[in-house]
C-alpha cells in the first residue's frame, strides 16, 4: 500500500507539495490533462475578501465600486450569511490558485485537484480562452492598468478619472467583441504600444501647431450615409470600442482608460460563457483525482468521506419548488453532464446510440471529454450533449411565461419523447450570452447635424430595457460622447417600441 499523503486535518507546506505532486501524477498520467505551470498561494480570509472585491484578480486599479463590494461582502461574511470560497483560480500563466488557510488537508487536496488541474486544463485548452484571453500577459497588463490609472489620477485629478471609469464600467457589458477580429489580443504588445504612443506624442509635441489658423472645414454633406457608416465602422456593438475610436472630445488618456476597461471585460468574456463547462470540468477532474488517490490508499477512508460530503454539497441541485432553488447550479449540471458523457462513452444504451452516434461506446472517455472541453461553450455543449437520460433524471421541464396569457404560465415541454429536443434547445438558449445580454448597437451618427449618436436595441421576445438603469447608462454614454445620445428600441419587424434621448451633463454638474 502506498503511503498516505496526510493524516487528519492538519497540513503544512510539505503536505501541500506532496498533495500537488500526487494530483499531478493522476492528472497527467490517468487523465492526460495539459496544464499551465501551477502556482499555489495560501491566503487568509481577509485576503480572500480582498480578492472578491477585485473580481478575483490579485491586483487591480483602484475604484470606489470595489470598495462597495468589499464592504458588502465583509458585512455578509461577518454576519455569517455567506461562506467564503475555498479557492480562487486565475486564468494566467503560471496559473495561480489561492487556497484558504482554514481548509483542512482533505479540502486542500480537493481544491488543488479542482483548481490547479481542472480549471487550469480548461483555461489552457478551451477555444474561447485561447481565442480571447492572453494568459501570459494578463498580470502584467493589470499591473500596467493599475499604474496607468494611478498616473492619470495624479495628472488629471481623481474626480475626472473616476467619472470616466464610472461611465466605462456602466458600459462594460457592451465593451466586448463577440467575433474574433483580425489579430490576436496580445496584452504585452498593447502595453508597449500605449507607452510608445505617449512617448511619440511627447516627442513631436509642438506648441506652434496650436496657433496655425485652421482652414475652412470641408462640407460633410457630400459624404453619403453608407460611406460615413463604413468609415465609422458601423454598425458597432462594442460601445466602448466605438467611443474609444470615435468619440469626438475625449482626451487621449480617457480613451486609454476605456481601452483598459474594454480589455478587462474581454478577458472575462469567456468565463461568462463557460460557467457550466468550466465548473463541470473542474468538478469532474477533482472527483476522478480524489477517487484515484483513495483507491491508491493515499487518502484514508475518513478523509475520503469528508471529501464526499463537501463534493455532494457542491453538486447539489435543489428542485424548482425548493426554497433553496436559484436556477441551475453550474457545478451540478456540469458534473452531471460530464458523468453522463462518461456513461455514454462506456456503457451506452440504445437511446444513447441513436442520440450520440459519434461518441456512444467509443470507450475512450478522456479522449472524448478532452475534445469536448476544448471545442465547446455552455450553449453549444448543452445543445449537443444533454442526453434524454439526464433530462429524465433531473426531471427538466420548460415553462413559457407570456404576460398576455391570462390562463397563467404554460408548460411547453417536459422530459418526454416529444419534449427532449425542445427542452434541450431552450436550456442551451438560456446559456447563450447572445440571448442573455441586450443586443445594442451603434447605428449611426448625425455628423452633419447635431452629432447625435443613434443606438438601436433589438428587442427579443418583448423584453425591453429597465427604464431607470437604461437612462443612467445612457447618461454615462452621453457624457463620454459629449453630444446627445438616442436609444431606440425596435422589435423584430423594425417597429419602434420606445425612444430614449439623453443629453450630456455639463462638466461641472457631473458629480
Amino acid at each position: 500500500m502506498t503511503e498516505r499523503l496526510f493524516e487528519g486535518a492538519d497540513w503544512d507546506f510539505h503536505t501541500l507539495q506532496r498533495i500537488t505532486d500526487a494530483c499531478e501524477e493522476v492528472a497527467t498520467k490517468d487523465l492526460g490533462l495539459d496544464v499551465y505551470p501551477n502556482q499555489i498561494e495560501v491566503i487568509t480570509a481577509e485576503q480572500m475578501l480582498d480578492a472578491y472585491s477585485s473580481v478575483g484578480m490579485p491586483l487591480f486599479y483602484k475604484h470606489w465600486s470595489f470598495g462597495k463590494h468589499f464592504a458588502y461582502h465583509e458585512a455578509s461574511y461577518r454576519k455569517g450569511l455567506m461562506g467564503l470560497a475555498y479557492e480562487i483560480v486565475i486564468n494566467s500563466s503560471p496559473c495561480i490558485s489561492y487556497l484558504m488557510e482554514e481548509n483542512t488537508a482533505t479540502m486542500q487536496t480537493l481544491v488543488i485537484a479542482h483548481a490547479a488541474f481542472g480549471h487550469n486544463h480548461f483555461f489552457k485548452n478551451n477555444y474561447l480562452f485561447k481565442q480571447w484571453t492572453d494568459a501570459d500577459g494578463i498580470l502584467d497588463y493589470l499591473d500596467f492598468a493599475k499604474n496607468y490609472v494611478m498616473q492619470c489620477e495624479d495628472r488629471y485629478g481623481r474626480v475626472e478619472v473616476e467619472r470616466t471609469l464610472d461611465a466605462a464600467h456602466a458600459l462594460m457589458s457592451h465593451g466586448i467583441d463577440r467575433y474574433p477580429g483580425k489579430k490576436k489580443l496580445d496584452l504585452r504588445a498593447e502595453e508597449k504600444r500605449a507607452g510608445r504612443r505617449r512617448q511619440h506624442e511627447e516627442e513631436v509635441f509642438n506648441d506652434l501647431w496650436r496657433t496655425v489658423p485652421a482652414g475652412k472645414s470641408k462640407t460633410r454633406s457630400a459624404l453619403s450615409i453608407e460611406r460615413r457608416r463604413k468609415l465609422l465602422g458601423l454598425p458597432q456593438e462594442n460601445l466602448l470600442y466605438f467611443l474609444e475610436k470615435s468619440a469626438p472630445r475625449l482626451a487621449p488618456w480617457q480613451r486609454e482608460l476605456l481601452r483598459i476597461v474594454r480589455h478587462i471585460a474581454q478577458y472575462f468574456y469567456p468565463q461568462s460563457q463557460t460557467k457550466v463547462m468550466n465548473e463541470g470540468t473542474a468538478t469532474y477532474v477533482h472527483y476522478r483525482i480524489m477517487t484515484k488517490l483513495h483507491q491508491q490508499g493515499r487518502i484514508s477512508d475518513g478523509n475520503f468521506l469528508e471529501f464526499l460530503q463537501s463534493h455532494t454539497n457542491v453538486v447539489f441541485q435543489p428542485e424548482f419548488d425548493d426554497q433553496r432553488f436559484s436556477g441551475f447550479n453550474p457545478y451540478a449540471l456540469g458534473f452531471a453532464m460530464m458523468q453522463d458523457i462518461e456513461r455514454i462513452v462506456t456503457r451506452p444504451e440504445d437511446e444513447d446510440r441513436e442520440w450520440f452516434p459519434d461518441i456512444a461506446g467509443k470507450n475512450d472517455v478522456m479522449g472524448v471529454l478532452r475534445d469536448v472541453w476544448a471545442n465547446y461553450r455552455d450553449e453549444s455543449f448543452i445543445a449537443q450533449f444533454l442526453s434524454p437520460t439526464l433530462m429524465r433524471h433531473l426531471r427538466m421541464f420548460h415553462l413559457h411565461d407570456d404576460p398576455e396569457e391570462r390562463a397563467g404560465i404554460r408548460v411547453d415541454a417536459i422530459h418526454d419523447e416529444r419534449g427532449f429536443r425542445r427542452v434541450r434547445r431552450e436550456l442551451a438558449r438560456q446559456h447563450d450570452v447572445g440571448y442573455i445580454d441586450a443586443n445594442i448597437e451603434v447605428i449611426d451618427v448625425d455628423l452633419s447635424g447635431d452629432r447625435r449618436l443613434i443606438l438601436h436595441h433589438h428587442v427579443i421576445k418583448g423584453s425591453q430595457l429597465n427604464e431607470t438603469d437604461a437612462k443612467r447608462v445612457l447618461q454615462h454614454l452621453a457624457d463620454l460622447w459629449t453630444y446627445d445620445v438616442a436609444l431606440i428600441e425596435v422589435d423584430a419587424s423594425d417597429k419602434v417600441l420606445r425612444e430614449y434621448v439623453v443629453s450630456p451633463r455639463p462638466i461641472s454638474a457631473v458629480a
Binding site: K62, I409, R410
Partner: protein, 427 residues
C-alpha cells in the same frame, strides 16, 4: 513541472482599504445621514463603537443595461406532475431573484459595517467648535524642527553637498575656469610639439591657464551652503471642560443620565480637536464642590439649589488652575431648571461678568422627565434667567432635553457650523 507554493498570509493586509475609503468618500452624505440615524437609537457607550449602517443605494448604484418584462422562457429541474400543455397559476410576486450589491431596483438599501474611527469621524464631521479664534498656544513642546531652506553659515555637519557643488560648478562655468582636460590636452600638445617657437607659445598659454585655474578655486567658500533648520513651536492646544450639574433632590436618575450622555459626547468631541483635555466635575446643591466622576454621577447629595455656588466654584478653579490665556475653556451645565429665586441676580452677574468672558463656549442643558408634558408648560426660573441674558447678547447656548433620543440631535444642533446655530438656538 515546477510547482510554486507561496505563503501569502503574511503579506500586508488592508489591500482594499483604499477602495473602501474611496467608497466612503463618495457615499459620505448618505453614510453620514445613516450614522446620525443609527446613533439616535444607540447607547452612549456604543455610539462610538462603529457598527452596521444602512444606506440607500441610490447614489451608489452602478447601472447596467438590463432587460425585464416580455415573455420569459425557463427550463427548471424537478418536474413532479406537469405534462405538456398544463397551465400554472402565477403566484403574483414574480421571481424575486437575489442580487449582488446594488443590482436591481429591488434592493434599495445596502448594509455594511463601519469601524469605530470611521463612525466617529462621520458622526462629528460636520460639527465645529465655536469661537476657535481664541485658541492659544500653550506649552511649546519643542518637538518641531523643520527644514527651512539654505543658509551661508552653519555647522559643518549641515553642509549641503549637492547645493554647494552645484553653485561651485555654476561659478566655474561662469568664470571660465579651465578644466583638467583642457590643461592635459595642452600639455600633451607641448610634449608632441617639435617646433621650438610654437612650443613657447603653447607654454605661455599653459602658464596662463594654470594661473587662471589657481585663481578660480574649485570650491570657493562663497559656494558653501548649509541646510538650515528652524525650530517650530508646535502648538499644543489644550482644553478644559467644566461639567456643572445640579444634584439636588429634584434631579432624577433619568435627568442625570441625560446629562451624562451629553457630557460624554462633548468630551469625545473635544478630544478630537485638542491633544489634551481636562475635565472638571462640579456638582452643586446649595453649595458646590469639585468631585470625581463617580461621585459626580452617582454620589448621593441633598439640599436646596443655588446655581451661583457652582459658578463661583468654577470661577475659582479657573483662576487657580486654568489661566484663560493657556486653556480653552468649555462649560456645560445641566440642571432641571430650579433655582432659588433670590439667587437669580447673583447667578446672572457671575455668568456675564466672570464666566462667559473666559469661556469658549457655555452650554446650558435643561433636562426634564421622560415624557415631559409638565415640563413644557412654563419655562423654569433658570431658563427664564438665561434666556434673558442671551437676549441681551450673552453668548449662551441652551437647549431642553427630555428624551435620550434627543441628545444627539441637540448636540448636533449646538455644534453645527456657526452661521446657522444662533438662529436655531431659539427653542
Amino acid at each position: 513541472m515546477p510547482i510554486h507554493i507561496i505563503d501569502r498570509r503574511l503579506n500586508p493586509g488592508g489591500k482594499s482599504l483604499e477602495n473602501r475609503q474611496r467608497f466612503l468618500r463618495r457615499a459620505k452624505s448618505l453614510v453620514q445621514g445613516a450614522v446620525k440615524k443609527t446613533s439616535q437609537e444607540r447607547d452612549i457607550k456604543d455610539v462610538l463603537e462603529g457598527g452596521e449602517v444602512t444606506i440607500a443605494l441610490d447614489g451608489m448604484h452602478e447601472p447596467r443595461f438590463r432587460r425585464d418584462g416580455g415573455t420569459r422562457d425557463m427550463v427548471l429541474p424537478g418536474n413532479k406532475k406537469f405534462i405538456e400543455g398544463d397551465y400554472l397559476q402565477r403566484s403574483g410576486q414574480g421571481s424575486a431573484k437575489d442580487s449582488g450589491p446594488g443590482e436591481g431596483d429591488g434592493e434599495d438599501a445596502f448594509r455594511f459595517v463601519l469601524s469605530r474611527d470611521e463612525f466617529v469621524d462621520l458622526f462629528l464631521d460636520d460639527l465645529e467648535l465655536p469661537d476657535l479664534a481664541k485658541r492659544k498656544i500653550a506649552q511649546t513642546e519643542s518637538e518641531g524642527i523643520q527644514r527651512a531652506g539654505y543658509t551661508t553659515s552653519g555647522s559643518p555637519s549641515n553642509i549641503s553637498v549637492s547645493r554647494t557643488v552645484r553653485r561651485a560648478m555654476a561659478r566655474r562655468i561662469a568664470l571660465k575656469r579651465p578644466s583638467k582636460e583642457e590643461i592635459e590636452e595642452l600639455e600633451s600638445a607641448i610634449a608632441a610639439c617639435a617646433d621650438e617657437d610654437e612650443r613657447l607659445v603653447l607654454m605661455a598659454q599653459l602658464e596662463k591657464l594654470k594661473a587662471k585655474s589657481k585663481r578660480i578655486p574649485f570650491i570657493d567658500p562663497l559656494d558653501i551652503r548649509y541646510r538650515r533648520f528652524e525650530a517650530v513651536p508646535k502648538p499644543v492646544a489644550q482644553a478644559v471642560m467644566f461639567c456643572l450639574m445640579d444634584v439636588s433632590g429634584s434631579m432624577s436618575e433619568h435627568m442625570k443620565d441625560l446629562a451624562k450622555r451629553f457630557y460624554m459626547l462633548l468630551y469625545v468631541f473635544l478630544k478630537r480637536r485638542y491633544k489634551h483635555v481636562d475635565i472638571v466635575f462640579i456638582r452643586h446643591t446649595d453649595r458646590a464642590e469639585e468631585v470625581d466622576e463617580q461621585t459626580f454621577f452617582y454620589g448621593p447629595a441633598s439640599g436646596g439649589t443655588l446655581v451661583s455656588s457652582a459658578l463661583q466654584a468654577m470661577h475659582e478653579i479657573v483662576r487657580e488652575r486654568f489661566s484663560p490665556l493657556d486653556w480653552n475653556i468649555y462649560a456645560a451645565q445641566a440642571s432641571d431648571g430650579d433655582n432659588s429665586y433670590s439667587d437669580g441676580e447673583l447667578t446672572g452677574m457671575l455668568l456675564t461678568d466672570k464666566i462667559l468672558p473666559v469661556c469658549q463656549f457655555f452650554a446650558y442643558l435643561e433636562v426634564g422627565e421622560s415624557g415631559g408634558s409638565a415640563f413644557d408648560l412654563s419655562d423654569s426660573s433658570l431658563w427664564t434667567l438665561y434666556e434673558r441674558l442671551r437676549n441681551s447678547g450673552a453668548p449662551l447656548s441652551m437647549r431642553k432635553v427630555s428624551e435620550r433620543s434627543e441628545i444627539f440631535p441637540v448636540f448636533h444642533d449646538l455644534f453645527q457650523r456657526r452661521e446657522t446655530s444662533q438662529e436655531k438656538a431659539a427653542p
